[in-house]
Symmetry: C2
Subunit: 297 residues, 2 copies
């Protein structure tokens, strides 16, 4: 794939994901809960995690229908985490993707339930009762996702984040926190994409793991950079919150310039991992690494 083709690839995949999410997060549901879930999920976001699943599945020539389910499952988890993270007892945020957050729009109780239901729906998508994918693939996808979002993944990272407010973390501590809080799901997205393939060589799997680790960390470093450099309009959420809340960030720890250098090092590391993977259809993964580091929101 030439560099020119990536925007077209991305737009096509985003449209697929959007259509599938709209189908799977149904509006007709008890007491309007589906509407709350749709508000949380549809019509916004870069769909980075789904793009990672789909790009990885393409690299390993995976099962397309399985990859689309896995892609949507990662986005549902991401959406649920944002809904819960925005709640008053957590970050108490009122703006997300340029819209009022879910609890502002629908109340805290429904936001809580919608988040809970989105997590369940993610697992439901991975275990369809049809011939979409073999049971072993379903089980492996559920395993990867469950580990990435639980106490030793995203939820654990959020617990460290909560506990770290006002604390001075070292760079390894900060790195460990982000590895769980955001890195685990990004890395799982790559692994889940790889799981959609059959007989993926272990050399390729290991390379994809390196790739996933690098962009998982890069994503957070860039998030911290954008928290101080972007404006709220471009970002679609409140900026400067983390520094204002006295949360440790890469920028507060390393400074802006060193953080930007770290992000670019990670981009180079991600590319190097792909170069050594022995795979060929790597254009989207390569471009996604660039996108993660060079994004403006």
């Amino acid at each position: 794939m030439s560099a020119m083709d990536f925007p077209a690839w991305m737009a096509a995949q985003q449209a697929l994901v959007e259509e599938a999410l709209s189908r799977w997060v149904a509006a007709d549901s008890p007491a309007g809960l589906g509407q709350v879930m749709r508000y949380a999920v549809l019509g916004g976001g870069k769909r980075l995690r789904p793009l990672l699943v789909l790009a990885t599945s393409e690299a390993v020539r995976g099962n397309d229908a399985a990859a689309l389910r896995a892609a949507c499952a990662t986005e549902l988890i991401h959406a649920y985490s944002l809904v819960h993270d925005d709640l008053p007892c957590m970050d108490n945020d009122v703006l997300r993707r340029g819209k009022p957050t879910v609890h502002v729009q629908f109340g805290e109780a429904r936001a809580l339930l919608a988040g809970d239901a989105l997590q369940a729906l993610a697992f439901e998508l991975l275990a369809p009762d049809d011939a979409t994918m073999p049971p072993a693939m379903q089980a492996a996808l559920c395993r990867l996702l469950a580990r990435a979002v639980g106490v030793r993944g995203m939820a654990g990272g959020q617990a460290i984040d909560l506990a770290s407010v006002g604390q001075r973390l070292t760079e390894p501590e900060l790195c460990a926190m982000h590895q769980l809080k955001t890195g685990a799901l990004l890395q799982a997205s790559v692994r889940m994409g790889a799981t959609c393939g059959a007989d993926v060589p272990s050399k390729a799997r290991l390379a994809l793991d390196d790739y996933g680790a690098a962009i998982g960390l890069a994503f957070q470093v860039v998030d911290d950079i954008l928290d101080v450099t972007a404006d709220s309009n471009a970002l679609g959420k409140t900026v400067g919150k983390d520094s204002a809340a006295d949360k440790p960030t890469y920028v507060s720890l390393l400074g802006l310039q060193a953080s930007q250098a770290l992000a670019d090092d990670l981009r180079v590391r991600a590319h190097a991992a792909l170069d050594g993977s022995g795979m060929t259809r790597l254009g989207p993964l390569r471009a996604l690494a660039d996108l993660v580091v060079r994004r403006e929101n």
Copy 2:
């Protein structure tokens, strides 16, 4: 099994579940989140859902290791639902199983995260990366659990419950709400137990479904009865809350005596389903139906 043996069977199963939960909900975890999860899960509760899984697996001569995982998964889901349900934005309850609720003990943010992580752990238990159970069984268990707890199950039922405060529901509406809110997970517990067996005849599966539906509903009817007849000490939680909150209950709709008659009818229906199941090792399931209706907390 004679009626005399049930208390011994139950104590033995409860000990198995307690030991397994204590092992799987590990204390050493990021920022103490495991301790919060353990507080929410261990040392309390009747373990009714696990007992249903284990009793059903025994009836279908299921895989014991798989059944123990499925049993614990249902309990983790139940525990997460209680933690979130007790939060200030939901029922705002301060007492559960005779102890301060999780958010009273650890704060709202950690209670929220612990609940989220318990849901993820439930799915993780069902997809072990070893030879405990075949992948098809893992996938089927994940599917059953995900459907039972999501928008068309427990979370949806809670959304109806929220929306129904101060509303006058008809008996079919009340029944539909409880079928989702508590019935779906109880019924899923029976189905998950059946899934631990190989080649279970469809006659037995259908009978178990009838059994699960009857005790799922009976459980809620008895809950409503206990809300007005029990005292807080026996119940281990605040009584009279539902009636005080102007929530519709079976007692407010049918009256106390008719509610008690309904509960006993459902017990008889559960027994009748077992009688027609063609299975033989039914003692624990039969006794559990009695327990659900005759419990005092």
